[in-house]
Structures are given as structure tokens and as C-alpha cells.
Symmetry: C2
Amino acid sequence: MSPASTSPTPKTIDPRESIAEERKAPGFPIRELTYWIDGGKKATELKESIMLELERDPLWRVNDNPNLTLAETRERAMKKIRRLADQAMSHPLENTMVRMSIISVVDPGFWTRFGVHFGLFVGALQGQATPAQLAYWMEKGALSMQGITGCFGMTELGHGSNVAGLETTATFDAATDEFVVHSPTLTSTKWWIGGAAHTATHCSVYAQLVVDGRRYGTKTFVVQLRDTKTFELMPGVNIGDLGKKMGRDQIDNGWIRFTYVRIPRSHMLMKHTKVLRSGKVIEPPLAQLAYGALIQGRVSMVSDSANVAKRALTIATRYASVRRQFGDGAIETKLLDYPIHQHRLLPLVAQTFAMIFAAREMTSSYRQLMSELGKLGDATGAKADEAIKNLKETHATSAGLKAFCTWMCLNIIDQCRQSLGGHGYSAYTGLAQAYSDFAVHCTWEGDNTILTLQCGRYLVATALDARKGQPLPANLKYLARAMAQNGAAKTTGPCTGSTAEEVSELRVLEAAWGSVAANAILSAVRAFETGQAKGMSKDNAYEFSSAARLHAARMHSYTYLLQRFVTQVEQSPAALRPVLTLLARLFGAHSAVQHSGEFLQSGFYSGSQIEALKTFVNSACTEVRKDAIPLTDAFGYTDYVINSPLGRYDGDVYEKYFDLVTSLNPQKPVPYFDSLIRPLLERTNESELGPELEIDQEE
Amino acid sequence: MSPASTSPTPKTIDPRESIAEERKAPGFPIRELTYWIDGGKKATELKESIMLELERDPLWRVNDNPNLTLAETRERAMKKIRRLADQAMSHPLENTMVRMSIISVVDPGFWTRFGVHFGLFVGALQGQATPAQLAYWMEKGALSMQGITGCFGMTELGHGSNVAGLETTATFDAATDEFVVHSPTLTSTKWWIGGAAHTATHCSVYAQLVVDGRRYGTKTFVVQLRDTKTFELMPGVNIGDLGKKMGRDQIDNGWIRFTYVRIPRSHMLMKHTKVLRSGKVIEPPLAQLAYGALIQGRVSMVSDSANVAKRALTIATRYASVRRQFGDGAIETKLLDYPIHQHRLLPLVAQTFAMIFAAREMTSSYRQLMSELGKLGDATGAKADEAIKNLKETHATSAGLKAFCTWMCLNIIDQCRQSLGGHGYSAYTGLAQAYSDFAVHCTWEGDNTILTLQCGRYLVATALDARKGQPLPANLKYLARAMAQNGAAKTTGPCTGSTAEEVSELRVLEAAWGSVAANAILSAVRAFETGQAKGMSKDNAYEFSSAARLHAARMHSYTYLLQRFVTQVEQSPAALRPVLTLLARLFGAHSAVQHSGEFLQSGFYSGSQIEALKTFVNSACTEVRKDAIPLTDAFGYTDYVINSPLGRYDGDVYEKYFDLVTSLNPQKPVPYFDSLIRPLLERTNESELGPELEIDQEE
């Protein structure tokens, strides 16, 4: 703590010089990598023009968000709604999508406020209304928010993931040709309904369809909440405000209770299940098609995970390239030059690239699937069976990846925040709020644990089907060899290399991960079969195997990400291939070291090969460190989107951090000096009673 | 999503019944466990009386904290300062300590606001002032906040962990017998100074002592910031407000800049280094003694980790015992009955017990050490050497444990929050704010990564000393066998058991962890030696080995926690021993499965033994589940301290959650309906320009 005697006056370095030197000799063409990440030059340019447009619009100021009250936060969000709604109507769809993907990074709470109407409410109409119903609601202004603002009434106080268990009822009254929507219990109160507290005139309500005393499961009904002229609540509708949340305070979540609210029969969305005037219920041939909308939300959360991680890592690496601490000489050492700091951040950079590429492939296979399903219409037969099979696969994969990537991103945000030291705890450096905003991604649109188990169930079922001769889907080909070995623990033979270089080749890592994932799936199959052998029902046997299923899904997700990464490396321009290969290897090797037990148990790597992998991770970190700033520059976010003085492109962190903090918190007299502090300082010991009262004592 | 046809109307169960049935047949005497956790019946009763006292004091209302603005939050905190300061003066010290430990759970931001004065400012005086100086400041009212409120000026904008690198200077002016305190650069601005923005009249400033142009390292100086009558800033002092933070907004962190501020020479705290009137500097024989104060802070953060984890797990397990979801029959299944939910929560319960016992032992060994050091005085010789050695060990262990336990607790909070599903995202269910408040524990009082590396450095140095014949400290005895084998990888022989029961016996787990920790330390020694063999300096060789050191410190911390757990089990009352033994085994086995690679590499466990460990973890979770509610009941926090409707003792979660949310957020007309929503709804498409303007076109 106190090195005796004369140390020289420490030298300080202009942080702008510190970051500038990081850009002198990038190991790859930065701009080309940006194009590759964004999906081409045109996509990058569109993104850049939209970032600029937002930055220049005073409505879109975000760096003072931390100083707004809840009421101010919500009001500011409402102001932006109109701007965006008008743009959505008049600009090409692609622009709106890019704008929303930027906004989800810059202002996630607002993204939700807007998304509840355009994504969930309109999405429910698009996915569940008949063409005539859709036309009706569009005519009423549902798409453009002219006359209608919507919210999405699924979750209840007592029911989240178990949609089939929702308690709200919609009972058909044949006499009047109406449904009576009702909340029978406290726990059936609609809860967390974004937009309900302040914004919405209508709600797509998920409720139990009841006809003639029979329950037909959860269907969707459009219920008007407020008069569109006066905003008074409609008869039978009660609404409350859920107030403060961990994050995303831009969106006004509320609760809704329905007391015998009557709606016309036509307000049930009848694309799938229909209720006729007679009360006859017609159920759809392909109930699973309703899943499509769920997948879209999940795929977009994989993209969002990648985008938010890009921002977090840009902040953390830029700060690490200018922040100096300890060191030998008169000049302190950059954080980024410490091996441990490289270990903290650079594997996360590799993870982020893995998520970028997984998101891209998920998006394109989702679009392909939807287009196939669209062409299919109401057809049945072999083609329909095939489409259902693909839908199931995409559904399971998207469930697993949504969970895996949102958890990964949440961890990246917090690791990056911690890497900023104390400054990570300021509300003005950007990552504290990023964490609070992002955290809900792990819960909504399917709780991550439940989604991971769903994915695990699919993996077990697929392995069982394959044993019966069904072909394996493309992403699960790695199971084939393991299956051929009759389920024995060893799958792809052990790694034959011994040097750090050999054990970390991409094709070796891919085989390694395939082997571990196959093992994990077969182990979950065994757990399931053990449960069945004990006489459990199928569902109970799945429950019994849940820890193994969860693990299998995680191992599968790593493998899926590595596979996608490898594919993208192979397709990438030659100039980018070396750095992307290095990142893919770092991703695969670092994750393998983190799970070394699995690899040792599967027999793919020996103990000394694991040590060699660790050596590779060390050297890969040293290599990636050289390009850490060019790599995060290539993410291509402007300072406006980064929205953190510590993550500025020019490295001028201290001046700009000081300026931001002082401009947002101008010094004023301490408001409670006279009322509280002066009396504290000037008080004297209370001894007004004088000496203690003495009383006689007997011994 | 839509099970066709008639499912029966679901039954709802009163959640109070659901939790009541959990308490019908506890497997151990709950009250006795509470006594054991708290350290005896008397301690429990004192804790209970203080919880009740706080609950009944309207000043201490906390359940509306989420709805306060930053300004209201700070003002409310200031109101409580006086109450607590008066109590601290008039009540026994033990009461104040228990009160503060409750407050650190109920209201962590206030705890900091109060602790900055009583812990840090007064602590600096106690640790670094001469007896005469201490008497002077006490006389001025420093202890009782009568005339003086203090803050602690260590961190700077550009310097955190590297205290020796602080830039603020205190230059001796022999002509006037004063020090001139000065902030030479922007980065030397004191930053994060709790209490500076609104509260403090004085600051203990850490600055470079400069005498006659020579620098003597960082020393501490008391500098007055504000006039105590008017609260005007003193000449040369500038202060600003750091505004909003991730959490702990009760404390008014600020920045301070000094421009040639003059203070009397006597305001340098001279218990260790002295500056005489002549300018002669006398440095202390035992510079390390200044570490003592650091240790206390770290030990208290281990206790705090245990206490905060107790609250989080009480909320999560109680909610899991009443929340129902999915399931076979008409009644949905309790979350706590799902194996995966047991896996999510119950190992965390075991971790919490491990932290409780580690905190207790750390506290008592710290007190013993301080008492020894106190007796020692200024003596030198063998006794002093021994004391310094103990100090180093306690310093290193406390550093490692502070990091390990705060990270563990942060993870526990977030796992518990996620286990509440969507309700975990509400500000009124308690864990979102708990996370934000707690997160700073991973950074302040020593950044966790740096502390872990310090602990790792101590472990490497100790192993090197032992090789030279120095005796091993008690907590590192496990190194002995590994050392005897001349540093070879195998240490304690491989486990001989094969059943789940055998591989998870406590003595086996203890040996297993000792073996893995020894391996990790020897591996860090090898990395260090490799660095030296490459010609690196000692410091650079340590840097080179940092990933291995970090890992060694983590493995050592697990081992330390398990050892403490075993000791406590052995000393516990017979009635508690079975349940504590089960928890200790779950802690050791679950952590081992999480790090299975280390155990396979060390050769202690084989692959099939790891599988047997997993089987044990599954069955231990099933066992612990039976007593999950009694165990968290035994933590002994009242509903006031739990401060979450989902964690209520009586299980009446839905009614009370609804009541809290609605009472704190009464419904009012939407404030911006007329200004923003109506114009949005009623707008028409803008086409005032009529048809597009046509212009001539040439082909």
C-alpha cells in the first residue's frame, strides 16, 4: 500500500492516443467484416442511415434516461410512438425492421412498448384471425394505430408458462350470439399486460372457450378495454398499473379484470378453431400451426442477444484499451494487456460472433419454413406431415437457442459491467440498465428453463425416433455415429492430436462437441427409459429425466452454435477467414474447457489434451487481443447507439464521462440541509432529565 | 396449446394451505437450527427484538421504496441517520452491530450511507490516527455525528484498485507547517465518494505525501469539505453529485476536486508514517499493519453474502411451495415438486449454509488476530513475525472469500429472481432491487478479480515456501500430501467407493476437494515457474500465471468452505447433525459435479464415480426438498425483513401481492391522454399535398 520513498511522478497518457494505437494495424479489413456481419454493404448502409436519423432526432435522446422519473419515462416513450407508427406506415418494411433492431439496443423499454402493439397485438390478429376478421380490424385502424391501440392479454397473476391452464373464461351465450369474458378468481387477473395501464384501447385476450358447459381450451378474443374517444374503461373492465419494474419502465404494464364482459361472437379470432352461430365448435386439422408466431419471437430474441452483446463488448473492450492500472514502469498498463482481462472479455467476443451467425441462420430457416407453410394452406398429406416435422424441429431449436442465447447475453452484459470496475455501477455508463432491461428476456416468451426442457424433450424424442429408423434432422447428424454404436458412451473416437494446435482445430472441436452432445442426449434417453422402466407415465419419465434433458439441450446448443459458426467461416470472404477461424476456435475451445468434465467423460479428450486446449485458449486470447478494438469496431455501432462515455469510439472517456455526469446533475444546495442535516450536526446529548432517578433497593 | 374438448374446471388451492402442509413434519427442530445459525438463543432473541423494533418504526417502512424518486430516496435515508446515530451512542455495541446486519438486508443503500461515516471515516481515524489525533476528532464529535459527518476519499476517476497510483497530492509546506492538498488532473478527481454530494462535512483523503519534492506514497489526511454552520463548500473544494446508480441510491455518491487546499500538518493521520515539523518523514516498522481495516470490511461482506442469500432463498422456496404450474391431475403441481426446480434452488440453500459457517469462522479468526496484534503494539521479533504471517494469511483468505462469496450470492439472488418467473421482474417482489444493490459488493473494497488473484498469489507463494521447509498454515494442510509427491498431479489417492452413497461421504468429498485444490495450486506454481524459466520478472511471472492463479483461488475457496462446513457439522447439536450433514454433502457433491473436469483430471473420481455423484445430487435434492420450507424458516427472518409478498411466511402471496401493487399504484386518469394518445388515435393519413407533383421526364 505504501511503497516507501521516492517514486517518480506518474505519467498520464491521453486515452485517445491509447485507443488510436489499437487501430494502427488491424489484422483484417474492418469494413468488410461489418458488411459480413450485417449481411452486405447495402444492409450496413441502411443501418448507418437509420442510426444517424435516430441520433439527429431530439425525440430520440437517450443519454439522460437515467434521470427521468417513471412518469417522465413513460410519457417520453408515448411521444415516440407516433413518430414510429407514421414511419412504419410510410417507409419500406425492411427499414422498420432495421430501425426496431437498433431501437432494441438503444432503448429496449420503448422497443417493448411499440412491439406490444405491432408485434403481439397485430401479430395475434395476423396469426389467428380469419382473412375477413383481419380485414375488419385493419380497416378499423389496428395496423396504423388510428382508432385502435392494442395489447396482448395472455399471462395471468397465477399462470404464466402454462397457457392451457389460464383461468379467464369466454363463455358462448347462444341467446345473444356473444361471448361473456370473465375473470373468475384473483389469480385469473390478467397480469404483466404491456400497454394496459396507459395505452391500449383493445386487448387480444387468451381465455378458455366454453360452449354449452364444455371447455375447448385456450383461444383468443378481441376485447375493447377503453372508449376510444374518452379513454374511459368499458363496462366490466377494471385495469390497474403494475408500477415499477426491474427495467423497461417505458412500457406501462398493467393488470386487467373482466367482469362478465360481453363481446360479439365475431370477436373470437377464428382462423383455427371456429364457433358457429349454432354453438357448434369446429377444431382445426393442424393445431400446431399456431406455434409459428411463437417461433418468430424467439428467433428475434436470438438476434437481440447478439446485438446487445455487441454493444456491451464494444464498451468493455474500448474502456479496457484506455484504462490503465498498476504495471511496472512509469506508465500504467492497459487493462487489455493483462492476460486475465483478456480471459474475461475475449471469449465473450467469440461467443457474440457465434450468436450473430446463429441468429442469421435461424432467421433464414424460419423464413423458409413460414413460406413453405404459407404455400401449404389447409392441405393435408405427406407434404403437410413434412412441414409439421420441420415446424417441430424449428420450434424446438428456437426454444433451446432463445434460452441459451439470452442467458449467454445476460452473462456477457454483467461480465462487461464488472470489467468496468466501479464505473460499471454508474447509471450513465450504460451496462447496469442494459442488464435490468435485458433480464426479462430470460423469462418472457417462454421461461428459459422450460424452453430448455422442451428442447431436451425434442432431442430425446428424436433419438428414440431415430432408433426406430426415422432419419435424423440435419442439425442432429452428430447423433448418427453414437446411435450406430448402440448407445454406448464413446461416440466419435478420441482425439488423436496432442499439441495445442492439433486439439483445437475446427474440425476436431466440431467432432468433440458433437460427441459430447450425443453423449448428453443418449444419457437423457437412458434417464427417460429408467423412468419408464420404473413404471412411470411418459410425462413422469420425462420429468424424471429433466436434469439430464436440460444438460442435453445445453450441450446441443453449444454444438449448434459451433456448427453455424463453422459454416459461416467457410462461406466468408477470404480476407476474413483467418480472424473468423480464430474466433470460432476460441469459442469451441473455451467452451470445451469450461465443460472439460463432459469431454473427459466422453473420452474424446484426455487430461493432457484438455491442458493443451487451455494452452490454446491462452494463446488465442493473446492473438485476439491484437484485434480486440478492430473486432468491436466492426460491430459498427455509432457512439449514439453505444450510449456510454466509456465506450466512445475516440477513447476520450474521462472528459466525456465527467461532462455527462456534471451536466445531468448540476450542483444545487443540499435540499434537506436546514431540515435534517443542521439539526443532526447541532444536536446535543439529550440529558434533560438530569441525573438518573434513584429508587430504594433492597438487598 | 389447445387440448381439444372438455377438460374439467381447474381446482385452485389456497396457497396458505400449500405452505402449511410443508411445515407439518419438519425433519429437525427448526428453532434449534435458528439458534445454531445465529450463534445461540440469546443472539436469536436479540435479532428478533431488533427486527420487531425496526418493523414498528414508521421511519423504517421499506415496501414503498420502489416508488420513491432519487431525491425522496436520499431524503428518507437522511431522516434515518439521526435515529441510528442516537441509537449507536446509547445502545450496547452488539445491538448496533446486529441492527446494521439486519439493515444491510432490509435497506442496503441506507446501510452504506450510514456505514460510510461509522465504518469508513471513523474506521480510518481509528486505524490511522495517533491516540492524540483520535481523541481530538472524537472530541469534535466525529463518532456521534455531532459537528462532523465524514466521508472516505480514496477512489479517483482514474484510479480504483491501484491505491498506490492515486494522483491527488498532499505537499508539505514547511513555511506554514501545512499540507497543500491538490487534484492535479481530471483523472485525480475523487470519485464515488459516498456522502460527498449531500452529507459530509469532512473527508479522509488518500493522497500522495510529498515532502521536499520526494514522494512517500499514499497517506491519509482529514480535509474539511463544508462549513458546518452554513454547509458552504470550503475554499478550494469543488463537489458534484454522481447522480443515479445501478443501486444503493440512498447514498449520495459524489466527486471532489481539491485546488490547493491547505490543512494543518496535524490533519495527516500519523499512526504509521509521521511527518515532523522539520519535514522529516518517519516511516513505520510494520507497514502491513494498515491492512487490518481492509480485512474487517471483507469479512463483513462474507456475512452479508450469507444474509442476503438467506432472504433470497426464503422468497424463492416459499413461492415455489405455493406456486402451481402444469401437472397431471386437476390440481397443478407445486414448482417445488419438480426435480428441475429442486436442482435450481436446493444446492443454493446448501451454498448459503456454507457461507453462514465460513462467515462465522472468518469473523472469529479475524477478532482473534486483531486482539493478538493489539497486544503486540510496536514490538518486533519472533512474535511480531508470527503475527505478520497470520495477518498475511487472514488477509489472503479474506480476499479470496470476499470475492468468492459475493459472486456466489449475486448468482443466488439472480437464480432466485429467475425462479419467480415473470413476478421476479416486478420491483415489489424484492429480488430485482436486491441484485442491483448487491452487485457493487463484487467491485468495492477490492475488485473481485483482483482479490482472487491476490489470494492465488498467496497460495503460490505458500506452496513455494513450503517446498523450502516452511510449515503449512492450517487451512492449507491439504497441500502436504501433494507436496510430498513432489508436485506430481496425483494427490490423495483415487476414490475407492462406487455407489452414490460412497462417493459422496463427507470425508471423501473433503479429500476430493483437497486433492483438486492442491492440484490447482501446484498447476499455478508450475505456470509461475514456467514464466520465470522464460526469464520473466517475479511480477511478470505472476501475471503470466494469472488464469491458473484465479482457478487455484476458486478451488481453494470451495475447499475452505467445505472444511468450515464439516467443522460446523461436527460441532452441531445431535438433532441438527443429520440435516446439516446432508446439506454439507449436497454442497460438496454439487460443486464437484459442476467442476467434474477437475476431479477427472486429478484422477480422484472416475467417470462412473462422477455419475454416481450426480445420482447422489439428485437424491439429496429430493431429500432436502422435504425440509425446504423448514430450512428457510430456520433462517429466521420476519416478513418485514423478507419484504416480498411472494416470500410471506403464511404463503398468502397472491392477495398480498395484489394489495401491495394496487395500494402503491392507485389508478388515475392517463396523464397524457389528451396531449398524446387522443391525437394519435384520431390522426388521419397526411395527404395534404394532394397528388404527387409530376415533372417532365426525358428518356
